[in-house]
């Protein structure tokens, strides 16, 4: 009973916050807006902590009410609290609270401040539904709901047409993924007759590995994950999503929403373990995404775009971990990534704030003197993501790569390549932004200042987490993998051989050594290029050749989609309207015209001449008699 109450309180707080700031937009005093919404987030965080500390190890289900009953199908509105949802709860509410506080400093002067905070609260609400729901339909509601908030927040500055395009692109592309999710849900219902996790996973353990239906379901669900978690081919919306205010990029497009796809697969791990083919598919897509996005990141000059491609790439690593059934490693990377990527985005926000909304790193440089706190925290975040020990990112990425190594050496090699690129583009970003000479305008130089405490405090907290996050799961049986173990009992039952690979210690140390060497090597390379040689990327107008041009223009994928998909569909719509409707209406109007023309002719028979009528009558009788004579009926 008490859990029921606590479970419902978690999403309820942000919803109340949304209601107050949203309905009271422009009426709630600006000084109260921030505290109200942050308090809502913090309250959810506090309740999540309470649930976490009181957690017995047994999943708890809290059913609020019977939401939909149709025929034999019942969909409950209910929550499930277990290891996975608790972890997600803590990330979402914890990082979420920090970003709420940060937003007070960052957005205070915006005229839509109240609306912004209301949308953030609404996002939290849907995200919390997504991770605590006890069935796929509740997950889907949260899933689409966070998509709505993402749309609203990307296009938050709605006077800018490009931002609106980005928002719409994000929503529509996510919708394409959602179709997969939806079809997956339909198949789940047809197969299992239920949408409840517990029902489905219990039944699923009786299926054989490689079942065709499970294959279809897992592939379809993964299509949903591709959309939300920005994997090839549905990744192009995420870099564009950087149009939103920076706290949004940190919260939604780095730390929480985009990891929903990973959450979904970890949640459904039994099904995925049952379908090795799907896991192979995920592996291929994941590594391709990780490398493609990292390579684009190498040449980007917008501070947020670099981080966005980095996010796409890191999400690829998470899926890579899942693809070798290293589910807890994937989740571990979700957690550490939430720390350091939120930190990096918020740091970038602090820079942008100081630079009067400048985002081009070619116009920055030497900022470490002016923004010391931002610099230090950004540096820590960079080391963490680059995979240098003993920071958080090292442990989580290394764990994934170690599992991949056991599974497939080639995938591991490619993963290492991506890792090298990651380290390079991150240190490139760091060096170009904080080192060297200032390259901005005089006006910008005068304006340079360290951000207020509401912004730096979250940076410090996240920096500490980015440094120490690795402690959660130290190599050789850390707390996290032990904590999450019960989640994978079903998987271990259906396919014991997919689990329990122990890496011997010498191999493990060797792998660690290699990836550390690669990361540091890349960092040194970046140092040589951008510090020793003072290289600055060429301006927009510069002529680029060959591969550089291809990469700089993001492999022209957006253009390809435009030509191959968007335009044909629009053309089809236009064609149907101009020709299809024309033909159908032509037939309709044609029939009307024939009737009218025929009646115009028939009308002439009614001439009013009696003689003609008599003639017609006699003639008709004669015809009838003759016909009667030849045809007997």
């Amino acid at each position: 009973m008490q859990t029921d109450l606590l479970c419902s309180l978690i999403p309820l707080f942000p919803l109340i916050g949304f209601a107050i700031n949203g309905l009271g937009f422009r009426k709630v005093p600006a000084s109260l807006v921030g505290p109200i919404s942050s308090a809502a987030a913090l309250a959810s965080f506090a309740v999540s902590l309470m649930l976490f500390s009181g957690f017995s190890g047994q999943p708890v289900k809290a059913t609020l009410f019977d939401w939909i009953s149709v025929g034999s199908l019942h969909i409950n509105f209910s929550f499930q609290i277990d290891q996975l949802s608790l972890l997600m709860l803590l990330i979402v509410t914890g990082v979420g609270s920090l970003i709420h506080i940060y937003s007070i400093g960052y957005m205070k002067h915006d005229e839509g401040f109240g609306k912004f905070m209301a949308f953030l609260n609404l996002f939290l609400f849907f995200m919390l539904l997504l991770v605590t729901g006890s069935n796929y339909v509740i997950m889907f509601i949260g899933w689409e709901g966070v998509g709505l908030c993402s749309y609203l927040l990307i296009g938050f500055w709605n006077k800018n047409v490009n931002y609106n395009n980005a928002a719409r692109k994000a929503f529509v592309m996510n919708r394409i993924g959602d179709l997969g999710f939806l079809l997956g849900i339909f198949l789940l219902i047809t197969t299992f007759g239920s949408v409840e996790y517990t029902d489905i996973f219990e039944q699923a353990t009786r299926f054989a590995v490689g079942d065709k239906m499970i294959l279809a379901i897992t592939l379809l669900l993964f299509v949903g994950a591709m959309g939300k978690s920005a994997q090839i081919p549905l990744y192009t919306w995420l870099p564009d999503a950087m149009a939103g205010p920076t706290p949004v990029s940190a919260l939604i497009h780095a730390a929480t929403m985009v990891t929903a796809g990973i959450y979904m697969i970890v949640r459904s791990n039994v099904l995925y373990t049952l379908s090795p083919v799907t896991l192979e598919v995920i592996g291929v897509i994941a590594i391709a995404t990780a490398i493609l996005a990292a390579s684009i990141g190498l040449l980007q000059n917008d501070i947020k775009k670099v981080l966005a491609y980095s996010t796409v790439s890191q999400l690829g690593y998470m899926f890579l971990g899942l693809s070798v059934a290293a589910y807890s490693s994937g989740m571990f990377h979700v957690i550490t990534h939430a720390f350091f990527k939120a930190l990096l985005f918020l740091g970038a926000g602090s820079v942008i704030h100081a630079m009067s909304d400048e985002q081009d790193i070619r116009n920055m440089g030497g900022l470490r003197k002016h923004l010391p706190l931002t610099f230090i925290t950004f540096l820590l975040g960079t080391i963490a993501i680059a995979g240098i020990p003993p920071f958080a990112g090292f442990f989580s990425k290394d764990e994934i790569l170690a599992h991949v190594f056991l599974h497939n050496k080639a995938l591991w090699g490619l993963g290492l390549v991506g890792s090298a690129m990651t380290s390079f583009y991150m240190f490139r970003l760091l060096f170009l932004t904080f080192f060297g000479e200032f390259r901005g305008t005089e006006a910008q130089r005068h304006h340079l200042h360290e951000s207020p405490a509401t912004m730096t405090l979250p940076l410090i907290v996240l920096a500490v987490l980015s440094v120490a996050g690795g402690l959660l799961n130290l190599p050789g049986g850390g707390w996290l993998s032990h904590f999450m173990e019960p989640l994978f009992a079903g998987s271990a039952q259906v396919s014991p051989e997919a689990f329990g690979h122990e890496i011997d210690h010498s191999t493990e140390y060797m792998l660690m050594g290699i990836s550390t060497a690669v990361a540091i090597g890349s960092a040194i390379a970046a140092y040589v290029v951008y510090i020793s040689r003072h290289a600055v990327p060429a301006p927009e107008s510069a002529e680029r050749s060959g591969i550089a041009k291809l990469v700089y223009n993001k492999y022209f994928v957006d253009e390809l989609y435009e030509i191959a998909i968007v335009r044909p569909i629009r053309a089809l719509g236009d064609a149907l309207y101009n020709f299809g409707e024309f033909i159908i209406d032509g037939i309709v109007n044609g029939v009307a015209w024939i009737v009218r023309a025929a009646s115009a002719q028939l009308r002439l028979l009614q001439s009013g001449s009696i003689g003609f009528y008599v003639f017609a009558m006699v003639f008709s009788i004669a015809v009838i008699v003759i016909v009667r004579f030849f045809v007997r009926f």
Binding site: Y151, V161, D585, V588
Partner: protein, 553 residues
């Protein structure tokens, strides 16, 4: 009594308005508003009196209307028979809500008020009649009578091409009516009223003493041709028509299907005829071209009623009459029928994408959304049918809202082109928010009613034993199309820097009180239905379960 009141209150109102002198001081609109509010109240009372656990017809009212002995041809019996079940009651409540909103929306009608409101009331009464009549003849009467006010409301108060649009609407629907009429006569000749027949054949002393056993006896005797044709009482009662036992052996439309044309059983032809009759109304591609024209030319309140209520008579006719009386047809052609639904979904969506006229875009989106109704019905599953009923109510609310939204901007500038506006959010923030609510509700965002309707009709498609999985899979693309065309329009009209084609920024005032009074309740209703779908599913579940028993054979 309640159902009669629902029909006759507006009809009497129409008569009163028509008889009153044409004087500007007479508050015709207040009178109409009063009637509409009373109607809403009545339908709420009907809702509270309705027992949701029961599957059969309730609140029945029956009176002999026409009884004519025709010697060897049997006896003609037309009853005044009303009743509601879980299929029609949601639509009755929906109609009373939409008709009330329609009155508010008619507030700006200035010329020929007397005629307008008289016709509006006539329309209201006939719509209610359609949903509660259980005698086919009575239903058909209302169904036909509805055309008259509709024709004039579009033809007299419409836009520049109103005459073309109203005649097109009239002829299209009339064609449908003719098909329905033919089948109705065929059915009449094929079906007996077992109760009256029992009395006529001397098996019972009066109608009150006829029980289920006796009805079975009469049906058995009929099947063995023990009842002489002069004793058979023919009927238009839809309840009897839905029972295969009441069909005369060797009759035109008997279940045995001995009568064939070109090798096709007469029953199948009859099924297709009624299907087409109602498909025009829904409308289903390719019988839909009257709809965009009618909408574009109709004044806002008429569009609201047309989209909100009239289209639903098509879906209602499917469930009650086409599938209800010819389950064999629905089962045999399930795949083709669902295919037509899917075609509508995709074709309507693609056409909506091509529109620049906001009203036309919404009209095509209606075609697309009504396709889900056909898909749900054709699936012959509990999810599908309940979903179809839900989708009708949901679309009724949301499409009414959408057409009101078009009306708001059209009232101010007389320009409905999407590309005539940019950045409206800045001058009309409330309008923008409510438009966004309606658009997101329409594109099926969870939390709003549109989501549940689409979810369940599609789910029905997947669960169906009659349909292949690829059909609903194709239909799902309609959801992406909806997001594309709605969000694109939202962006073009409301976001970006403020701009209008004709420099009419000064006329763009935000919503007034009356407009809010119409839009906010509809938005809340869509939200309520989306959050608590069981409000509606509880109504329809039992009836649908019983209805589906026909298909278990």
């Amino acid at each position: 009594m309640i159902l009669s009141l629902l029909i006759f209150l507006p009809l009497i109102g129409a008569l009163v308005v028509a008889l009153l002198p044409d004087n500007q001081h007479i508050p015709f609109k207040w009178l109409t508003l009063g009637v509409a509010m009373a109607e809403l109240l009545l339908s709420v009372v009907a809702y509270t009196q309705f027992d949701q656990q029961q599957a059969g017809y309730q609140l029945l009212e029956q009176a002999d209307w026409i009884t004519l002995p025709l010697g060897n041809l049997g006896v003609v019996s037309i009853d005044y028979l009303l009743g509601v079940d879980g299929i029609s009651l949601p639509l009755v409540v929906l109609s009373s809500v939409i008709l009330l909103i329609g009155v508010l929306s008619s507030w700006t009608i200035e010329n020929r008020q007397k005629a307008y409101f008289s016709l509006y009331l006539l329309l209201s009464g006939t719509i209610m009649g359609c949903f509660v009549a259980l005698d086919f003849f009575l239903f058909f009467l209302f169904f036909e009578f509805m055309l008259l006010p509709m024709y004039f409301l579009i033809g007299l108060w419409g836009g520049p091409r109103r005459e073309y649009a109203s005649i097109k609407f009239f002829l299209y629907t009339l064609l449908g009516s003719v098909l329905i009429l033919l089948v109705m006569i065929g059915l009449y000749l094929s079906v007996m009223d077992p109760v009256s027949t029992a009395v006529m054949a001397g098996l019972a002393t009066d109608a009150a003493s006829v029980d289920q056993d006796l009805i079975r006896l009469v049906q058995a005797q009929l099947a063995d041709m023990h009842i002489s044709s002069s004793q058979i009482v023919h009927t238009f009662d839809l309840r009897y028509m839905a029972d295969g036992g009441n069909y005369l052996p060797n009759a035109f439309l008997s279940g045995a299907g001995e009568t064939t044309f070109w090798g096709i059983p007469a029953r199948m032809i009859a099924f297709w005829a009624v299907f087409l009759g109602f498909a025009i109304k829904l409308p289903i591609v390719p019988l839909h071209t009257w709809l965009p024209d009618a909408h574009v030319e109709a004044p806002t309140p008429v569009s609201v009623v047309l989209a909100g209520v009239l289209l639903k008579i098509g879906g209602y006719g499917f469930i009650r009459i086409a599938w209800g009386l010819f389950p064999d047809g629905g089962a045999q052609y399930a795949q083709t029928l669902a295919g037509l639904g899917v075609l509508s979904i995709v074709y309507g969506g693609l056409n909506a994408l091509a529109q620049n006229d906001l009203k036309k875009m919404i009209a095509y989106s209606s075609v697309s959304h009504m396709g889900f109704v056909l898909l749900g019905v054709a699936s012959l599953t509990s999810e599908g049918i309940n979903g179809a009923i839900y989708q009708m109510v949901s679309h009724g609310v949301l499409s009414a809202m959408l057409f009101l939204i078009v009306g708001v901007i059209y009232d101010r500038t007389h320009d409905r082109r999407i590309d005539s506006y940019r950045g409206l959010l800045q001058v009309m923030p409330h309008y923008a928010v409510l438009t966004a609510v309606a658009f997101f509700g329409s594109l099926g965002l969870p939390g709003f009613s549109g989501f549940v309707g689409e979810l369940f009709t599609l789910m029905g498609g997947f669960q169906s034993l009659w349909l292949p999985g690829w059909l609903p899979s194709v239909a799902v693309s309609g959801i992406v199309l909806a997001a594309a065309y709605l969000l694109w329009s939202l962006q073009r009209m409301f976001f970006g820097p403020l701009w209008t084609r004709d420099g009419v920024e000064s006329t763009l005032t935000d919503l007034n009180g009356r407009e809010r009074l119409m839009l906010i309740p509809l938005g809340l209703l869509a939200l309520l239905l989306g959050l608590l779908p069981n409000v509606l599913f509880n109504l329809s579940n039992a009836t649908v379960a019983q209805w589906l028993e026909k298909f278990n054979v």
